[in-house]
Subunit: 341 residues, 2 copies
DNA sequence: TCCCGTACTGTTATCGATAACAGTAGTTGG
DNA sequence: CCAACTACTGTTATCGATAACAGTACGGGA
């Protein structure tokens, strides 16, 4: 039995690095985590031994003793397949990796219950921080994150009472601003197509923003001009077809999501409906494709990548020992005016 | 000092659960992992105590003692923002979550060196499995995964000598099949637009497939008919413009990526070029939008979600104790013929 | 010369769960 | 009636890194 001591894994332990470098394990630990605390000679020998053995530290052991430094963060998005969340994740991982922190990822499928069970599963790995895109949670979630004692960043909406930290934009203000813009362009009969409000706080807020703008402009709210539908190209197409059938004519449609707006634009192209002459189309979230149509789509730019970056930054400030409530960050939004309105 | 013992974290330990349930910690451990090994009475009391304390197990401790059961897997994709990889990830997480395994995620940015350092960082958390989309690796990667002694699944291409497990489709065969299809449709001057071959094995294989098909059909390979460019709508647009300038006329263009094909289609719409009359367009990877154009795009369907699912399944078989080489899985592909060709 | 601070290194106990082992009842079969 | 066996439970040592503490050596100032 040549490999009696380690039958399966061949990974070197810190002790073996220490042996080879002719120092104690503690010096190896220090050399790796705070190189300025050891002599240059020790550092050199440790680095050499690490290289030669291909040593990969064991963060399970480290995190067990020093729970605040597992070098692991967790994030939950509503869906992995939505490129908007992907941009935020990219910002997150890029910023965290600079500090040697890796990311654990899950999707809630837009369900609060799934979010709770996922958080519980994640916390079992003792991450040193948690990022949640959703801002509406079960009571269990509040208890879990309170007990975990780690920084939590929410990113989906600028809410009033965040769990802890908050980096986002206001869905309400954004939708209101876009509707205001359409009103300013002299459209009067403005329809709204968004995701199902009862399932999603962001969808709710956007719809609220739309209504607030109409009311402020003294325009009537018409039941038939609001459509709720899951986001997809197909549903955007269906919505525009439905709205084109309404009389008196709808002048502009605000799609609270670019998938929907793009689906609608493709349908208009197919049917030969002229945009914006017959109907104006506005989107939400500047997908690259929106600007590449023959009639590019007016839309809202949300700095999704930046949300991830700043969420990471906020989390790191806490990990660096900053106590107390850090104020929410509003990353804002920007209307991008194009030919479709 | 009321919280002398646990200053920051409020998380209950297994010992406390044991105390409350009036059993030993070992019984708690057993009740949670293999409920059939304890009496129903013990099980009941443990579950009650767990619920009341909101106990979240510490997988760092568990994984330290039993390294093969960290309940953590790691995956690396070339880019988080590409919806193709997202579909595979979704398949992965869905399948792994059923077994209580969570996923750690990173992106290599299409760089082999980045992949290596990411793998090293991930292995520090002692995942029980690793999924890599890339199939071309640095020597360091080979050493790392060998030493880690965990199952590794590659998913990006059907290669000959995989590191370990393999679930994919053949980029070569797919590109060849699509080119064969175009030849079968009587197109003779067929151009190819793909990602930069020197940077990416998949791009290389697709280009090779294209060439093999032309050669087999007795058609000449023309330098001017192959364009290499990073994937984006804009580059697809540029490519089609460039190719439309070539004389004698290009009859069909095979875009080895739907982003490129869609960018080209949008450009054709904008310029009023008729597809497929003036030029036929074929894509690769069935993006939903491809089927929604006025002239829907012929493309290749790759079962991306299934790749993730089956990668998870393969990994789990290893974790369930299955030794030896498991054969590679070819998930295949399917040509979807639409109006653009 | 002695004291103390600085810079570095080593030793010990510990984080929390679990494998390995060691019981203890109760039961079955010869 | 007792050995052997099943079903369950508890005890101890351990996984690998690190915090806390305890040196050691050297140098500068009084």
């Amino acid at each position: 039995m040549p490999n009696k001591k380690r039958p399966a894994a061949l990974q070197a332990r810190m002790k073996e690095v220490a042996l080879r470098a002719k120092v104690s394990a503690m010096s190896v630990s220090r050399a790796l985590r705070s190189p300025d605390q050891v002599s240059s000679e020790t550092l050199r020998r440790v680095q050499k031994a690490v290289r030669e053995l291909g040593y990969v530290p064991n963060r399970l052991a480290g995190g067990l003793k020093a729970p605040s430094r597992t070098q692991l963060a967790a994030a939950i998005v509503p869906s992995l397949q939505n490129s908007l969340f992907a941009a935020t994740l990219q910002g997150l991982t890029d910023a965290l990796r600079k500090r040697g922190i890796n990311l654990m990822l899950g999707d809630s499928g837009y369900s609060r219950e799934a979010e709770e069970s996922l958080i519980a599963a994640f916390l079992a790995h003792r991450p040193c921080g948690l990022v949640l895109h959703d801002t509406s949670h079960t009571p269990g979630v509040r208890r879990l994150v309170r007990n975990a004692g780690i920084p939590v960043v929410e990113t989906g909406n600028l809410v009033n009472r965040p769990l802890d930290l908050l980096v986002s934009y206001s869905n309400f203000a954004a939708a209101r601003a876009m509707t205001d813009y359409l009103v300013g362009r002299s459209y009067r009969r403005i329809a709204f197509v968004g995701q199902i409000a009862s399932l999603n706080e962001r969808a709710r807020e956007r719809q609220r923003g739309y209504r607030a703008a109409l009311t402020a402009a003294g325009l009537p709210l018409e039941e038939a001009l609001t459509i709720e539908t899951p986001g997809s190209f197909e549903n955007g197409a269906k919505a525009i077809v439905q709205l084109m059938g309404v009389r008196p004519k709808v002048e502009a449609v605000f799609f609270a999501g670019d998938v929907l707006a793009i689906g609608a634009m493709l349908e208009c192209n197919r049917r030969g409906w002229e945009v914006p002459k017959q109907v104006a189309i506005a989107g939400f979230d500047d997908w690259e494709i929106s600007r590449r149509f023959a009639i590019p789509i007016t839309t809202l730019d949300i700095p999704r990548y930046q949300i991830g970056e700043r969420a990471a930054a906020l989390m790191l400030r806490r990990l660096d020992g900053e106590r107390g409530k850090l104020p929410p960050i509003d990353v804002g939004f920007r209307i991008i005016e194009r030919a479709s309105t």
